[in-house]
Symmetry: C2
Subunit: 305 residues, 2 copies
């Protein structure tokens, strides 16, 4: 729909989505006393009032033709817009406080369809008790929905990608691989699981899987300046998914986290959720083992389409 046969020399195809983000935001510097975490984790972290109060801030957009097809049920398209952003809040262990929505909409759009999109979004907001507090609309050639979320960690610290230590076990929730075509529209953000891990200080690092284990685990390792060793057979897969698919399909929206050796037993014993929990490997010092996963690179919007 958008890719010409020959993009300009300085085009996105060359740098990729994460490369572009680094190019655009790499210079952003903040006072760590005010902004403990800026660009580079699942969400930004601002210091709140008092020692263990943090505000968590996130923006994310879904675009028709990219994140959902025009034929997708409108309610599920709206649902996905909020669910993705909530998954990023879950990836810090935060509790949502409020959401504001921007709708970009073609002038010939059907109002009935837009209402259905918003109903899907509202249903999910009600389920996870996310106050919808503001909205804007603008004309656009292509329908998009931007969700900005404010969350908080009150009485505990958010979990970052950078907290893993060598020897920590690597866990994932749920099962990976996109065997169910609608999973990306109907997944449940792991908010309760993320908050539980952060409140109990049971994980050392946490993120959500959006681009696939094969792309996301190297990011967690990079942020923690570590390598990792994976037992491919231990990766929990959806029925019918190969290990390759489980690593590269993307859009799992499960949690990926690391746990210190002293805590793994407690974690397994106390885990109060129906959500499956699997240990898939261990964090290693860099260079001790290959950090190259036995799988490809996950999903990149700009490179792969």
């Amino acid at each position: 729909m958008t890719a010409p046969t020959k993009p300009p020399a300085d085009s996105l195809a060359a740098v990729g989505e994460k490369g572009l983000l680094r190019l655009l935001t790499g210079r952003w510097k903040n006072d760590p006393a005010q902004v403990p975490v800026g660009v580079g984790d699942d969400c930004a972290v601002l210091r709140g009032q008092g020692k263990e109060h943090f505000l968590i801030f996130k923006t994310d957009a879904v675009v028709e033709g990219v994140h959902f097809t025009p034929q997708a049920p409108p309610a599920l398209s709206g649902r996905k817009a909020l669910a993705r952003a909530l998954s990023d809040l879950a990836a810090m262990g935060a509790r949502p406080l409020a959401a504001v929505i921007t709708l970009g909409v073609p002038a010939d759009a059907s109002v009935r369809r837009l209402r259905a999109i918003y109903r899907g979004l509202e249903t999910l907001a009600n389920k996870y008790r996310v106050p919808l507090v503001g909205g804007e609309t603008t004309r656009a050639a292509q329908l998009f929905l931007n969700v900005a979320l404010l969350g908080e960690c009150r009485g505990y610290r958010p979990l970052l990608r950078s907290g893993a230590r060598a020897g920590d076990s690597i866990f994932v929730t749920g099962r990976l691989g996109a065997t169910q075509k609608r999973h990306h529209l109907i997944f449940e953000p792991r908010l309760a699981e993320g908050e539980w891990l952060a409140r109990r200080k049971l994980a050392t690092a946490l993120m959500d899987l959006s681009d696939g284990l094969g792309a996301d685990l190297p990011r967690l390792a990079e942020a923690s300046r570590l390598g990792f060793q994976i037992e491919p057979k231990a990766i929990p897969r959806k029925r019918g998914a190969t290990v390759e698919a489980a690593c590269n399909d993307g859009e799992d929206y499960e949690l990926l986290f690391t746990v210190s050796p002293a805590q793994t037993k407690t974690l397994k014993k106390k885990w109060p959720f129906a959500t499956p929990l699997h240990c898939i490997g261990v964090m290693r010092l860099r260079g001790r083992v290959s950090s190259k996963p036995p799988f490809a690179h996950g999903f990149d919007h700009f490179k792969q389409r």
Copy 2:
């Protein structure tokens, strides 16, 4: 670019931009103890910690071909994205705490141009000391930038559209009318002026002028359940702008506010800014005077293009 010759019966052209927003967000209800102001003002207001602490939350997008042309200087297009959202924060009297940016970008976009867009945004962020704390990019057919802003009012209350009382004087900052083609790209958000009005409790109601006085003043009056009376000759105009233009061009990004009779002298005497300040009329009880302004309806994205 987007309007077909005959839109569907339930199309946006019929309901307009504000009508659509009402249709989509009209059911959103929040606990006023947590969310004193939801949809319907310039920003949402969340209760912070303590009695006079409020968090102010805003989302806004600019779209290429709608809010700026592809030929506009890229740095000014990026600047506008942030400036518009800051103007909304100014319209509550809030101080910015942090911004997160979503970029929607065609796969054939020039990385150099995107960097210039971000430099413009960063320059304005530095000027107004707005920490840029997070960003996302996504593929899109048309370039867009969504800015989500978190702000606060600490030690004072935000100013709403709904606080005007009959007999209050109506003031605007600056001069109105789009005689300068680039004004919408280079305007200064009235952050200091808005915060000053709110901290000193000198205004009873406040908003910013984005769609033109002719569209925006009726909104303030509606929110305050009042009518108004304007002295057209008193409307401060840019050089060469007619009264009509000053009321309907839109994109002034000046402040519109009301002041109780007891405070107008103090306001004029204490106003510490170089920004012009003009009294243009008075708020009246509904029905006492026509609330119809002597001018048209301002700007609507969906209706007017």
